[in-house]
Symmetry: C2
DNA sequence: CTGAAAGCGCTTACAG
DNA sequence: CTGAAAGCGCTTACAG
């Protein structure tokens, strides 16, 4: 049997309470006593039973996820993952979701302040790149609230961790695939984004541009289209470009306007462009299946949510953030390796952890 | 607060023991009593605290992982993942690893029988496609031992679940990428496998062949090379083909002979072939980084291991296998989305579950 | 068929 | 600075 606190108490010749104090680095133990206990811990190879500890603590962690509202399907999938995790009751964690208008720094900052006031132990938020947000995050941290950015980072804040992909690398990946798929085909490429106010979009763009500049003798990237992740605007913008640049070779959609993108391409009679988009959602899945989209870069929303929870709990527990090393992978999907949709959340899932 | 067994006992006017009997569908409760308890459960919206239940059970699950020995780097990474999970102590599970010679049906069957005799509650094994193995698996099942196949399936057995990727789809994915990367380039393609005695290899080959037959006006696939996942043999086989077929356009390496493959290509002065390999391991990672390999299809060994444990535990617990729906994703890596190697296990990892 | 009591491994007031 | 006792939510013999 694995040694328990009883074993180490007996072995060290002290009481359970003292063992507990040493184990949890609580004050009020003489150095000699502490040493005895530590020796016993070492000798017996003790490892704490976290589940039992949580049970005894009876503690519950109120966590808040702040997610943009609106019809962005990736965000809706993310929210569904959060709710699903909550249903399954991540042990001793109670999770709530707060929606805010997308790309709205003031609203986000206000939501963060409110969550802190409401006594959140930890907050996960999709960041907007603005000073008000940085300040709100840092205020939360000062109050001792754990904070992670989700999907879109804000490295200039003091957030504990970023749960999302390396978006510069994602942009480079898109660029590399675009270059290989196009081969010798001539023509410029267009980029459809949501807004340069969020880091994930601006970072993807810079990664993509860097690769395009290197490809062959350089491929021209047209001025970026900002569709605010709104399908209607995205469709209009793309349609205009299709008409304006008949020699267009490809489109990189790095935001969430994909329903509009696909609609515009369908309306234009499916010109044979190379199309690479982000996030496996109903519109991009349909695009892959119909052949109108060549590849989809993806981040696993479920992984990100569970990673955020682990990091927030570790921080709230004052445990060493071993989980902070977690990396979210940049998935590549083509038609052939498309995973089946998750009936619960509609997002793409793999076997979890 | 969430309701506990105490609450439902009080509400139903019975003892804890009776509540427990109903909760766990144990016999020896009158229908009326059962109904009262069930009504209380319903009324209060009770959900069991699994961690507390496990603690009380004090039960420990001996699980055995049977993994091929030898220098196959994917298998070594898989084993490292198993050992790491064990270190982290998946709650109340004790895991042991048994190594067997690769592609050896008799040895595998014997190892399964031994694990059953030793009292395993569950077994996960990389299957070899042979009747002896099917019989050994079915014997284990009859003894009430939970069984999952890992990485390579054996659907003709009664195994509870397969923890691995859809290998036909993986082969199709490789074929599709190969076709796109080659574009109009002429020439046949070669396939390097380990052995057709394992399902994962034979399934990948069939998927790849199907896509190649459809590509353009059909691309010729040369006779498959079986290198037994041995780098020396693989290198010799590939070198011979390179000399024999100077017009070769690409190589699909669907097994684990990649160190030999890369060595052969280096020795041949890096002919500009399209190379697609499986599993992100040191040799394939190096190949991607040096540009000699174009893409690597991957399965997350950590996911597979943790999925196997969840399924085995659920089965051993007699719980409904909600986990059985877990799917392992087919990852695509190119140079740009290469994740950093895991310092612990050497395998590619993402944020877990 | 039903219940009272002890215990799983840990933590938490409360005494001393 | 240290310890004895009760309790977290559940399960398990043992009585009756």
């Amino acid at each position: 049997m694995r040694p328990t606190v009883h074993d180490i108490a007996a072995s060290a010749g002290v009481s359970l309470a003292t063992v507990d104090r040493v184990l949890n680095a609580r004050p009020g133990v003489r150095a000699v006593t502490r040493a005895k206990v530590e020796a016993a811990i070492e000798r017996l190879g003790y490892v704490r039973d976290v589940a039992a500890a949580n049970l005894a603590k009876g503690r519950i962690y109120p966590l808040v996820f702040i997610i943009p509202q609106g019809e962005n399907p990736f965000m809706r999938g993310l929210e569904a993952e959060v709710r699903q995790v909550d249903r399954v009751t991540f042990d001793r964690t109670s999770i709530s979701v707060v929606n805010v208008p997308p790309f709205d720094a003031m609203a986000l900052a206000a939501a963060i302040d409110t969550a802190v006031e409401d006594g959140a132990a930890g907050i996960a938020a999709v960041a907007v790149d603005a000073p008000e947000v940085v300040e709100a995050i840092d205020r939360a941290l000062e109050q001792g609230v754990a904070f992670v950015t989700l999907v879109s980072d804000l490295a200039s804040s003091k957030r504990d961790h970023f749960c999302g992909v390396d978006n510069v690398a994602a942009g480079r990946t898109a660029g590399s695939l675009m270059a290989r798929f196009l081969g010798d085909r001539e023509g410029p490429v267009a980029v459809l984004a949501g807004s340069m106010l969020v880091r994930d979009h601006s970072e993807r763009l810079s990664g993509f541009r860097a690769v395009m500049a290197d490809a062959g003798r350089g491929r021209h990237v047209l001025d970026v289209l900002e569709g605010q992740d709104d399908p209607v605007r995205a469709r209009a913008l793309v349609s205009r470009y299709l008409a304006k640049f008949p020699g267009l070779a490809g489109i990189y959609s790095l935001g969430a306007g994909n329903a509009g993108l696909v609609a515009a391409l369908e309306a234009a009679g499916r010109p044979g462009l190379c199309v690479i988009a982000h996030e496996l959602t109903p519109p991009t899945r349909a695009g892959l299946e119909s052949g109108i989209v060549d590849a989809v870069l993806h981040q696993d929303a479920g992984h990100e949510v569970r990673s955020a929870i682990r990091v927030l709990r570790a921080k709230a527990d004052g445990v060493k953030p071993v989980a902070a090393q977690e990396r979210i992978r940049i998935d590549i999907f083509i038609r052939e390796n498309l995973p089946p949709p998750d009936p619960e959340t509609g997002t793409a899932r793999a076997g979890e952890g």
